[in-house]
Each structure stands twice: as structure tokens, then as C-alpha cells.
Symmetry: C3
Subunit: 672 residues, 3 copies
Amino acid sequence: MLGGHLLHGGDYNPEQWLDCPEILEEDIRLMKEAGVNCVTLGVFSWAVLEPEEGVYDFDWLERIIENLGKEGIQVILATPSGAMPHWLTQKYPEVMQVQADGRRNLPGKRHNFCYTSPVMREKITALDRALSKRFGRKENVILWHLSNELAGNFGDGACHCELCQSAFREWLKERYGTLEELNRAWWGRFWSHVYTDWEQIHSPAPHGEYTMTALTVDWRRFVTEQISGFCTMERRAVAEYSDLPATTNFMDTFKNLDYNRLQKELDIISWDNYPFWHREKDEVPVAAWSAANHSMMRSFQKKPFLLMESAPSVINWRNNNPLKRPGMHMLSCMQALAHGADSVQYFQWRKGRGSYEKFHGAVLDHKNGSDTRTFRDVSEVGARLPGLSSLLDGTVNRPKAAILFDWENWWAVEDTTGPRLDFCYPDWVMEHYRAFWEQGIEADFVDMNADLSGYRLVSAPLNYMYRAGWAEKVRDFVSGGGIFVTTCFSGEVDDTDLCFTGHHPLEDVLGIAPEEIDAPSEEFENSFTYSGKDYPAHTLCAVVRAKEGTELLASYEKDFYAGCPAVTKHAYGSGEAYFLAAASGIAFLRAFYKDVFAEAGLENALGAELPYGVTVTERMGKERVVFVMNFRNEPVCVDGIGTWTDAETGEACADRLQLAAFQCRVLTKQAD
Amino acid sequence: MLGGHLLHGGDYNPEQWLDCPEILEEDIRLMKEAGVNCVTLGVFSWAVLEPEEGVYDFDWLERIIENLGKEGIQVILATPSGAMPHWLTQKYPEVMQVQADGRRNLPGKRHNFCYTSPVMREKITALDRALSKRFGRKENVILWHLSNELAGNFGDGACHCELCQSAFREWLKERYGTLEELNRAWWGRFWSHVYTDWEQIHSPAPHGEYTMTALTVDWRRFVTEQISGFCTMERRAVAEYSDLPATTNFMDTFKNLDYNRLQKELDIISWDNYPFWHREKDEVPVAAWSAANHSMMRSFQKKPFLLMESAPSVINWRNNNPLKRPGMHMLSCMQALAHGADSVQYFQWRKGRGSYEKFHGAVLDHKNGSDTRTFRDVSEVGARLPGLSSLLDGTVNRPKAAILFDWENWWAVEDTTGPRLDFCYPDWVMEHYRAFWEQGIEADFVDMNADLSGYRLVSAPLNYMYRAGWAEKVRDFVSGGGIFVTTCFSGEVDDTDLCFTGHHPLEDVLGIAPEEIDAPSEEFENSFTYSGKDYPAHTLCAVVRAKEGTELLASYEKDFYAGCPAVTKHAYGSGEAYFLAAASGIAFLRAFYKDVFAEAGLENALGAELPYGVTVTERMGKERVVFVMNFRNEPVCVDGIGTWTDAETGEACADRLQLAAFQCRVLTKQAD
Amino acid sequence: MLGGHLLHGGDYNPEQWLDCPEILEEDIRLMKEAGVNCVTLGVFSWAVLEPEEGVYDFDWLERIIENLGKEGIQVILATPSGAMPHWLTQKYPEVMQVQADGRRNLPGKRHNFCYTSPVMREKITALDRALSKRFGRKENVILWHLSNELAGNFGDGACHCELCQSAFREWLKERYGTLEELNRAWWGRFWSHVYTDWEQIHSPAPHGEYTMTALTVDWRRFVTEQISGFCTMERRAVAEYSDLPATTNFMDTFKNLDYNRLQKELDIISWDNYPFWHREKDEVPVAAWSAANHSMMRSFQKKPFLLMESAPSVINWRNNNPLKRPGMHMLSCMQALAHGADSVQYFQWRKGRGSYEKFHGAVLDHKNGSDTRTFRDVSEVGARLPGLSSLLDGTVNRPKAAILFDWENWWAVEDTTGPRLDFCYPDWVMEHYRAFWEQGIEADFVDMNADLSGYRLVSAPLNYMYRAGWAEKVRDFVSGGGIFVTTCFSGEVDDTDLCFTGHHPLEDVLGIAPEEIDAPSEEFENSFTYSGKDYPAHTLCAVVRAKEGTELLASYEKDFYAGCPAVTKHAYGSGEAYFLAAASGIAFLRAFYKDVFAEAGLENALGAELPYGVTVTERMGKERVVFVMNFRNEPVCVDGIGTWTDAETGEACADRLQLAAFQCRVLTKQAD
């Protein structure tokens, strides 16, 4: 466990207060009071660390680190590439990003740099090495925090400058070898888009080419590769004088970067979680979304991760930013642990007085200091975590189910112009996850490179693209006894968006042959009956033929495809494959997966029927540690739970568990 | 009849499959099976026809044409200017369009070329001539297809580069002679917009001038002229070694180009029809819209036209793309014939594997080849058409009614800032056409240059601009016995958007003097009673004074203009003029035109009352050929039809006609 | 009183008709008929006054002025900088504005010039001086109309060219002295935004910095300063040969310019009023909005102002432009006088034949000349005004209440990213004003520089920014017996958007300490009971602690802050301060202010309860002159008015006053 215990703390920006020594003293005193044991320093501090080119001023940082160290507070040290100082952009304008429309940015905001620029790379490398040399072996420094929310530039995350265009062409040469092969893979003869010189290739642009999905997906792959390369470069720089592990903070469901690729550069995963609690009275959609993202972070390395940022109270960038209702702060923190986090870190410790994030919630407020509900909420978390540290040390969730979430599939299905133009891939996937969540069945998120062998169940909604080897991998998985679920508009194209011809690549496994796909208008909504209940079919309704031996679990009830399969099940080898021909909604998915879980022998950690709004997760170690969370703002009971001990109170819990509004209880028993 | 029979086939892109000879063989075999007798080749093939500058590779095309010829399949041969090869844009960047905001496009997409560019003109001319030389006298080549969907660049259709600016200025010099005259015509003293040098004139731009309707309309006129000139140039190039007729494919209700102007360059009209069937259960609005566009295509030359593209199943570019319900494909094809088409051509024969249109419906699917509902639907059409060819040969619709649809009026009324800013001219016109359609009264669409002498009835909704001579032409038409219908916000301005002063130009004919025009807010909706029924008046309510002798058919019922004329009728010479002071809706228009048709002695070809969703058209030749179409997805009966013969079954039909869901029947009898 | 009587007339553009002498003659004849005594000449006439560089042609203008003079019609003479001639933009492209995205405009539209450009300044100064020399002492010329609707460029009003960037930097140097101070004031260390060279500073840009509110607000301050400087320059130019007063015409609630700053350059305030009458049946929201703007114009100099433009009938730029219902034209004109106007001027006298504003309503129509409802409406106003001139001469409204409307606060609260992103400051303020209006309590609008000493009551809704000295000023005001009302999200930041720390600056005065602020989602709407009635609390709900001695007038009823103060009252010195913790709506504000007015001893001029839709204002001079206006389209009675004389009929009015639909009556009695 990094740091030796659950971390609690967050982003700390003392450089904004260097002329207020009383503030800096108060900070440390109040950190102790709030149970903070770890802060992140140096994010966005370039202008202070290097006030003019080549002149470093690290003394202030050393004082801060040492003062924290004296009080036993650990430090995560950031490299400051997230925002550039003005002297850099002034002297070397080429470090600023060029947007897709060809316009070079002016300085400002953040994440406004070209990942390719040699100057940018040289300047940040030098600074990182200097930081490493000075702080890389400080006793209370425990982790490198490389840059910040990479590609988070309020746009497509990419730079389109000429340096990047050249790098893109080199990357394509590497990938395709010849233009002939590229033209073949990109189906270049359509609309005369045959490239006869590498120099003709340009990134997707609103005033140029954006209609070739093969190009747009390759560009996105390249951007991920380029940014990963930048990250590796920073990692090497800080490693020069330091053996500390390194992370960079991810964001939720972030399209600009393929995190499955980027995570390979990191020792530990961390991320920033800002769920929209209290968007509506029913907190379940948001809770499931947040849970899914925690689980995805855990899944990247199948290890505990860090919650690197979260809001101690409100945030400031949504149209309306509600206060966290009492209990929600604790529950939200516990949710992170429940899904595998080993920390609760906040953005930010103290609200700055000015600029963009001055109203973003912080542990310390402008006006009332620590005499606030937020500070008390945070202090409660600070008081609770130490009691869980040793229990959770070395534990992690080990689900038997996995859901496919693949960035390349995401990019392709949203870029293509298929039966409809409004696909939101994460929404499709997360709706499936929510059906898992409601029944307390945890899942990993995997991409098509994953090893499926440890799973009983793999679900792959809207799996439009089948990357090389995926069909074979799924076939082996099912053949070997696995249960596979997929949906309409899956298995359509290969890695470069070329449609498969002849047959669906998994026709044999699924036991169906797709013929047509309807994207019905609202008045043409269809329906089907599953297990005696009626469910809607809308948005996308595949018309498929069932092969012999395929079981029809539901059929369409209306229109010309009445009687055609809506839900099928097909045995293949020792396993089974389910096909959902139509989009329906959470009500159907809930019923459907209930049956699938039963078939797969999956049940939640309590073996209990969960009331709406309650879920459970389990972290496995020497003992079983089960988190039971109530996302309803009222008390609930869970019945039929068996016998457990409340890990925090020592109380025995048998058969029935009481949960207060927004409460999370941690139960434990010996592992079998 | 071009090709000697009704054409059936569509766009064929074998250049995408040259490395798959088995596909090319299968194509011809399945074309025969589907009753395809004509395909369009070479659209977008520039990069394959001229892989590098000046190097032509036509052999593959010749093989394809010959193989088709052997099987009796005719060829429409396209010039490939619709999309440019990358070597061209790389070497001559000036061929790419400049957008209104001054930014030059990058290569990509399609229709991305400057119509003025001498380089572009030179390169395509040379290629066209070479194509003409090689294929212009091939036996099975029957038609030149010049470029493709001209001005269809997903934008304003125009290029704003400096070459185009110069050409625009030359065009203006030609039109106005002197700046003094231009300033007068454009009312240049408003906001000090007096031009003192031709070089000061620039195309409309978001960062420049867009508020002068006289400028914006003249710019649109120029764009049409420039593109027509480009088309003529291509036509001349292919004519060098070929006597074949030439067309270019139009699009529906396409604002970028005045097709009444462009059609003069063509021997035959063709167009691409993509109605949004199954947008809602009531198919009538879409059916009437599609019918209107067919009729407009026929009206340009008052001759049969070609349906050049249509979807054999779905399309791929709407937000949701529903499958065609059973029967709709046949009905949609028959509708084209019913309004004057001599062909049913599809985009496309076979779905490509990649790029933008890979999911656009095609006769042949990626996966199931010809074993699909679509292929069977297409084959049914292929089987039906031959039986109709000789019946329809030499026939065409000859309506006694015309509706004004004038591009210059369209541009002006939508660009001006009048009583409201949200005018959609086609919506206004098509609502009137729908009232015709529902009663089986066919209409031509005419612009203000048209000869009105053959019509009994002319309707001119939202006729804002009166081009030179139009008032006189209408006056003569009514005076000579014609019936004229028009609406509020008509007769406001002349050719350069100068308001008429003193009087409405047709005050004498209409018998009313407009005084004010209200664009009431929603809560102020008005109403009137016409023939005993109440109808709403909204959106635009003219307040006019009736002259002596003008008949008030309805008056406003509310607000301060209660009692003022809402619908008037005025005898003038031997004819009559109706004025509709307010926008109301289809319910009123249906009732109103029923009376007008009676007055004009117009009745539908069956002389029958038509059930909702059913319409009829008639193509006149030696025999009368009547199409009866049911756009409801359920059977209907039409009563009181008299005596006919079903042209396809030979069955006699007397008095009552049965139609299945989405059925079209073709009836015939001797012409009187 | 300027001109010696109430002015009646409007913008007159004879330069558009110089080739129609009969029109020019008719104009003067009809002006007399309509009771027009004053027209504005020369707005947008640059191209005619200076047809080529340095060549002036003023003869036509002199003839027009003299012909008007002969008929006793006065002239307001404009400087023509509102639109540039094409010769200027062609020869000196640098005069055209550069947009925030860095693109230089093309010529066109209007207000498209750089306020900094030396060339623009030189050319217009020379022309203004020449105009001054020729016309500055003409007997019937009474006022200079400098430019037109400054900053009204359909955008942000600013130019971002390099000249403006330099001027901005100079302005910042002047303001901050050192970069150190600027970095401190702008909280530059956030996101490493530390400036180390003045040249690094750039105006806010979509492709650069827009997230620093301190920068964006300073940029807006600079723009106001730069445009004010331009205005002063023109004022000096026309003053060279003329002693006439000068104005420029303002617009309603216009964010681009701080009119409190610009008004200092002017001798008299004038503005252009285009309320959206008949947007809905309830005219009150629009009437109150229009009233507020009139009052704001009066408040700038606490003197009568001119209504410089208004529509005699419709306007042409809203999506739908309804006709004025009978009575509304007169009422709308009377409303201007009621709030302190000494004129009723129109845009425009005669509709031009072409270009952007040809359908904007005018006294004279294209087709029916003077035989229109509009002309008769205008003539009625022309007949009524002379009877009011001497009564109103020297009078003005002198309210005892003031509402804070501060541009810098506006800019800051809408630019910042706080608890919500959709603030509309004018909507917040105007809702408070409406509660005043409905009860006939007139208010001045003041900014934070104002002298509060004359007021009984000051209300400051959404007073986010406390500029230097404001807290002290309010404290003195309350301490001295004043009543102060403010709301949540007030007192947050100082002049450069730095949050106050420790305490709310007026915690002692308000008697509350803010702790948190909720921006609840819709399902979380709260409520409170005030004086026995229930009201909603939504949008923004501050959670505050009441200090000892603070009176709770209402508390939240739901959620975790149930019981917390929603409305408080706190005595401070001889005065009282009210705090409204939550947004609620007009129903609450109506009830709340009724009590506040009673507390403050404020009552309307009639001392009567006013029916919904009726309001009163008073202009004080030797006599009291009271306007009673009925904005309902039906008759109403006002009871309990005391004894008055109808100033126009001489009729005595006691106790009960009858008002016809949309009627305004003018009552008078001796001042006490």
C-alpha cells in the first residue's frame, strides 16, 4: 500500500500564498486536524519553479516539503507541464497547440502545449530532472505525479501543428509500410481519396477531411501514442535521480486518450472523480457511473488505484453546482475504497482567491476557514480511514465478470456514419454496467487486448469494431466455457474500419446471422416479451436470422420484423453466447442479466437480494471485506445476508443489515 | 425514351474492387438476376483514371464497360470532377475552395474545388476529352453524367477565393455597367455602403457584409452562373468525340443552385431522391414532398426525367435511418414513374467496405450478398419495369396547374430581414403543393421566367420578389382567364430587393391594398371562418384593404384587425385572383383549393374523391396512363373512379378500386 | 428644455432620396402634418458627405437643413462615424476591427472600426470639424449626435488588433504600475499565469485566455475607456466651431460599454428604446423592463433625457415582429415622458427602399404614405405633446429609492465560474425593479460610484463584486438611517475578482455570515414562508448563519438547510439591512418590497393600491405631474387616489380614476 496506509489529502498550492506565512502555518495545523496525511505539490507551478528560462527557484518548495515532513505528511510531487509559463510561450511560440482548424493558440488556460515540440520536451525534461535531483529522494516524497489530466485541453486533446503532421506521417509509415497498403486499409478509392505521397496526409480537420473513419481513428491512435511518449519522457526524466513510482491522473470516460495504452507507462493508476451528485433525487444513475469509472481504473492494472482528486464540497464548472447533502461526502469517499482505491485525495486543500477555480470546493473555505460543514465532513473521513488501512492493505476486487470498454471501438463507432449518428458508446456500456451494479455484481472493464481467461462472463455492448484477434479470443473464451453477451451493431468492421464481408465474424458462436438494422423513428418503437414481461425496443433494432439450435428468448412483436429474434442464446463449445438484437433500457437489462448471472453462477458478496439504491463490492485479501452502500437518502434494510462482522464497530451482523441514509458499512469475514 | 426502355440500375464503383475479379463477375451475374439494365460508372474515379498528373489509366474501365455490354447492360458515364485526386490538390492548392470566412480548405471530402480555377478547368477538361475519345461512341454507353451533385459541398456551394472575387466583379460590371447603377440598385447609401471602386466589392462573409440582400442575392446568382459555366465547359469537353446527351444529377429543394438556370445546359434532367420514409406513421408529408420534387424535375424541361439515385434500402446520413418497410421500395420507385421519371436508378449497386458511405444502402449487402430482403425488393422492381416501358414511352404528365417556385425569390425572402426572420420558402410552397397532391391535382413548378399560357391555375405562395416582367405576366394571365392565387408578403421588392413604392404591383389584379403585416406572437394567434369552418391565422397576418368589388371569402375574427380580409377573391378581366392574407395550415389549404379547383374546372384523373394518403397522377401519351398510389400502410378503396383497365394485369376496374398497403396500381384507358 | 419644447420627430435620411425632389418636399409637408418638430440628420452619411478622401460635399445637407428651418423644424446633427465609406476601408484596412479570434473584418455592416486607429481618428476628426464649421452655428441645429450606438457591432463591441493590444498594455501599466502588482491582483500564480513581460498580455480570446475573470473584466474596462476616448475626441472636434451640447445614443441594458463611464463625456443622455410589446398578452414584464431602462437613462445625470429612437410601428430584427396594437404607440411614448424623457423621436421618418432596415417601421410607409394607422398614431402623439411641454419643462423624477446596476459587477458575475454558469445579471436586477414598478415606486439606477445620501432605500441584487469603497459607503448609508437590501452571492470579490477572505465585507451590517451556497438541481427546489405565504427557493440558495440580533423573516423549509435563514433583517446604526438568501421570483419580491416600502415610508404618487398592469410616476417641478399608465388592453379603475386635476382635459379627478385600455393620463396638483 503506497505510503503505508490509506492516503488522505489532496492538491495543495502553497505557491499562491508564499507571501502569507500565517496561512502556510495554519495549513499544516489544520491538515493535522482534518486527518490529512498526504498532499500533492507542484501541479501548475512551472512559473514559480522556473521564473525565467533556466533559472530554478526550488527553495520555497523544499521548505514546504520539509515542514510537511516534520508533521508526518507525505508528498506526491507533480511535474508542472500542465501549464506553461508565459516566458516560454513568448520566446517559443511553437510550443503552443494548433487546433484542428489550423489556428495556433495564444497562451492561456492549461494543457495548451504541443506534445511533439522539441523545445517543450527539452525545457520540461530539464526541469523534471532538476526536480528529481532535488526532491527525488526526500523521505516524505512518495510518488511522482506526471503532468496533470493529460490531453485535458477543453478540446480534442490534440495538436495539429506541422511538427505533429510530420510525426503522424512517420507513425503511419511505421504502421502501414507502403501507401498502397494504407490506401487499401483506408479504402482510399472511395471519393478518389488515394494518397500518392505521404505528404498528402493531414490530420482530420473541419475544413478538410473528417469523413474517413479509418483516418480519424488512426489519428486518435497516433495522438494517444504521442502523448504516451511525452509521458514516458517525463517519467524517464524524474527517474534519473529517483526510484519513486510514477502516475498521472486520469479522468472519467475520457475520449481523447486510450488509457489502456497510456497506463502501460505508469506504476500506479490514479484518477479524478467528479460525479454529479444530486442531479436528481434518484442517485443511482450517477452512483453507477462513478462506480464504473472506479472499476475501470482498477481494471487497467488489476491493482488498487489512487483517487487523486475529488471535490470536498462543490465544483464550479457545471451549469449548476449543488452542495453535497449530508452523508454524501463520506459515501462518495467510501465508494472509491469499495471499488479498489487506496486513497481519498481532494482537489483542493484551500480555495485560491482568484482565477478560474476560486469557487471550486476545497477543504478550507475563503471565509469560514475550518468552521464549516465541509471541514467537518472531511475530518470525519480523516478519522475513519486509519481504522480501515490495515484491513484493506493488500486487498483488491477480483470480479468474475468483465465488460468490454475499448477506446478504438469507441472512436470508430462514434465517428462512423452508420444506422444512426448519435451513438454515445459510454452510455451504451454504462447502462449494462448499471444492471451489474444494481445486483451487486462487480465487473472489470477490459479492452480487446485483454486476457479473458479468468472470467466467467464477458459482455461486449455495441462492439462495432473487432480488432485483429478479438473474434478468435471470444471464440476460445466461449468454447472454453465462458458466457458471452453482445448486442446489435457489433462485429461490423476491422481495425481500419473495413466492413467484414460474407459473414459476421462470430456467426458460429452467436448462432445468428444479421441481415438488416433498423434505426426506427419514435413512432415506430417496437417491443418484445422476455420472461413474461414486455419491454420496448427502439433506437437500433437488428433484424437477424437465428441459426439452427439457437434459442429464441424473445422476439419482436411489431412491424414487419415481428417474430424475428430480439434476444437469443446459443451454446458453443462449453459456453454460451447471448445476442441482444435491440436497444431496450435498464428495465430489460436488469431482468436479462439476473438470468445470465444465475446461469453463470455469479452472485453478490452478500448472496442477498439488494433493495434499489444499494450495492455491494468485495475486496479480497486474507479476509473478505465487503462494502455495503446505500445511495438512497433514507434508511434501508438488506435481508438474507448471512453472518458478518462490522469491521469498524465489531458488531455481529446476521441475516439483516440496517443502513442509514447514504450510509456505507464495511463487513468482514474469513475468506473461505 | 433514353436507352429504349425504362432504366433500372444505379451507381456502380468497380474501381473499389479491381483486385477482386470474383466480385466483378458476381456483380454482372446478379445485375442480370435483379433486372438491372443500366449502371453509372466513373463518378469519383479521377484518382484511378488519372493516377498521376497526365497519366491516364482507362483500361480497367473499358473492360468493365465491355463486360457489361456483353450482357446488355447500358452505361451512364460520369466525368469525375466530383472529387479531386490528392496529387492535384497537393501540386495546385489553388484548386481548393475558399470558404466565406476566408479560409482555404484542405483536401478531402468531395466537391471541394473552385469552379473558377483555370488549373482545375484545364485538368478536368483534358481528362473529359480523353474519356470522350475512348468511350464516347461505345455502343452501350448512353449518357454523359457531368460531375455529381454540383455545389453539394456540405456548405454554401460556393468558393470565395480571389479568382472568384474577380469573376464576381466582372459579372457585376456586365450586369450593372456602372457603379452608379449598382449603388442605386443596391440602395448603397444606406449605412454608407456606396462603392466607389469595383475592387471594394466582396462576396458575403460572416466577418464582412451579409446584411445587404441585394448583394447576397447577386452573389448567389453569380455562383449559379459560374457553376453553370463549369458544367457547360465539361459538356463541351465530352462532346468533342461524342454525340451522347448529357445530364448532371440534381438534388431536392437545393438552395445553392438555381436549377432553372442550370437545366439549360443539359439535354435531360436527372436527380437524386432520398425521402425520409417512416419518419412518422403518417407518410403523407414526406410523400407529397417527394412528389413535389419529382414534379419540379419534370417541370424544368416539361419532359420525362431520370431518377438517377435513390436508396435501395437505408441511407446513412440522417440521425436515424429506418429500414424501408415492405412495399415502400416498390411504391417509392413507382412514384418516380408516376411523376414523369423514365428510370429507377440507385445509389449504389454494392456497399463499399470502407469510408463515408459504407453503410449507405445498396442492392448488395456486405454480408448476405443477394440473399436479402433488399435484393428481392429490387428484383421485383426489375421484373415490373419492363412491363411498363412501352406503355410509358413517349408519355409525360401535362398538368393544367402550376406553382411558382423561384430560386431568386427563395434567396431574397430568406436573406431579408422582414416581418420575421425564420422564413422557410420551400415549406411554404410545399404546403400548397400538398393540398394539390392530396386531391390528385398535379402541378408543374415554374419560375418567373415561365410561360404561363398553358395553365388554368397558377399559385404563387410567399412571392416576395417580383422579378422584372412578372407582374405584367400575371396580369396578362389573369386577364386572359387564368386563376391566380397568392399570399401575404408577396410583391414586396424588385430584382435587387428594392421595395416597390406607392402600390402593390398587382393591386389592380388582386383587388386589395396591403397596409400592414403582423407577425404575431403565439398568444396572439388569430382565426377566420372559411366556408363555415374555423381556421387559425398565425405566423404572418397581412392587414389589407379590399378594393371595391373584391369578394371577402373570410375575415379575421380577433384583435384590432378583426373584420379585415383574410381571404379574398377578385375578378380581373376574364380571370380571378385569390389572396390569402394569413398563414393558416394544411387544413385550410385543403378546403380552399378544393373550391379553387372546382372554379378552375380541375379534377383528378379518376374524377374521384381520394381517401387520405392516396393520390393519382397521369402520364399522357396515345393512351392515358394513371398511377394510383396508396401511401398508407393498410388497404384502402377508392370509389367513383369510372372504368379503367389495370395496365399490368389486364383486369377491368370499374367504379371501385382496391389498393393494398403501400400499393401502386397503373390504370389505363384510351385518351379522349 | 432642449429646443424649447418636447421634441417630436426622428432619424431622417434624405441622402437616400436626393434624386427624388418630390419626396423631399413631401417629407417636410408631412412632418408638419404629423407634428414633427425635430429630425436627426447625418447618421451613416459619411459616404455622401465625403464621397472621396478629403473631398466634402455638404451642400445637399445645407439645403435640407435650411428647408427644415424654414418650416420651424429643428435638427440634431450626427457625426457619421457609425459606418465607414468603402474608400476608407480600401485604402486603410487597419481601420477595420479585428475580432477576438484574431481575424480582421472585411468592410460592411456598421460599427466596424477600430477605436484606436490613428487613421480612423484623423479622418473622422477632420470631417467632424468641417461639419462643425459649416453647421455648428446654424439657427435650427440644436444638438450634436456623436456617432451612433457606440460598440453596437453585433459582437463584443471591441477591436482586438495590435494597436488595441498595445493600448491595453499601456492602460494596464497605468493601472497597476508593475507586473508584480498585476500578478498579485490577477492571482497570476494559478495555472502558472505569471506575466514577466507586458508584451505577454493579450486580450481575452477563444483560442487563448478567457478563464481569468480579472483579465476579462479589465479588458472590458479598457474597451469602455477606449471608446469613451473616441467619443471625447469627436466631441472636441465638433466643439471647435460650435457651442451646441452633445449626446450619443445609448441602447438598453448594453453590456459592451459601461454607460456610467461614458455618460461623463456627454451633455445630455439619449437612448434608443425597442421594447418587445405583444410578446405575450401580459405586457407587464416588457413594460417594467422598458421603464427600468428609461429610469436608468435618467439616473445617469439625474436629468431629463432624450428618447432618440423608437419604432413608430414594427421593427425588423426580431424573429417575429408584431404590429403595435392600437393605443400602444401613444402609451409607449407617454411612458418615456413619464420616466423623464423630453422627447419622442423615431427611427425612422421614411422607410428606405433597400438594404437591411427597409422593413423597419417608419412614420412613412413604402406603399401607403401617410394614409396609414401608423401615421395617424404618430400624428396623435404630435398633437398631444405641445400641450404637455410647458407642464414638463424643468421637471424630472426624483425617486427616494435606488437600485444598484453596476457594469463591472455585471461583467464579473457573468464571467466568473461560480455556483452556476448561467447568471443573467440584468434579469436579476430587473425582477427587483419590477416589484417597485408594480407598486408605483420609482427608483434610480446607480453604480458603486454613486452618492447614496439622497435615498431612503438602496437595493443591490446579486452584488457579487464590491468595488473599493463600496462596503464603507453602504455601511455609512445604513448607519445613517438608510434601508439596504441585498441578496446571496454578494460581496464575494474585490475589483480584480479576488475573493474576500475571513468575513463578508458587510457581515456587521447584514447580521449574517454566509457559509455555503447551493445551486440546487430542479428536483431539489426549496421553499420558505414569508408573512404567511409559501414561496419557492431555487437557482441559488445561500446557507448562512444569522448573527445575534438578526431577525429571521423566513427560513428554508426543506433539505438539510431547513431552518436556516432565507430572509433576514438586521438593524445597524439608525438603519436596517435585509438579506435575501435565495432566488425566489416576482411573487415573493412583490410581497417583500411592499413591507420594505412601508418600513421606509415610501408610497406611490397617488398613495393608492395599484391594479395589476397599472403604474404611476411623478415628475417634480413647481407642480407635481403624475403619469398614470395602464398597460392592460382593457379598462381599469384606480381607487383612493385623492384629488387631482387632469392636466390635459382640466377635469377634476377625485378618489377614483378611470383608465381606458393602454391609456396614460397625466394628473397634476400643486406641490406641497
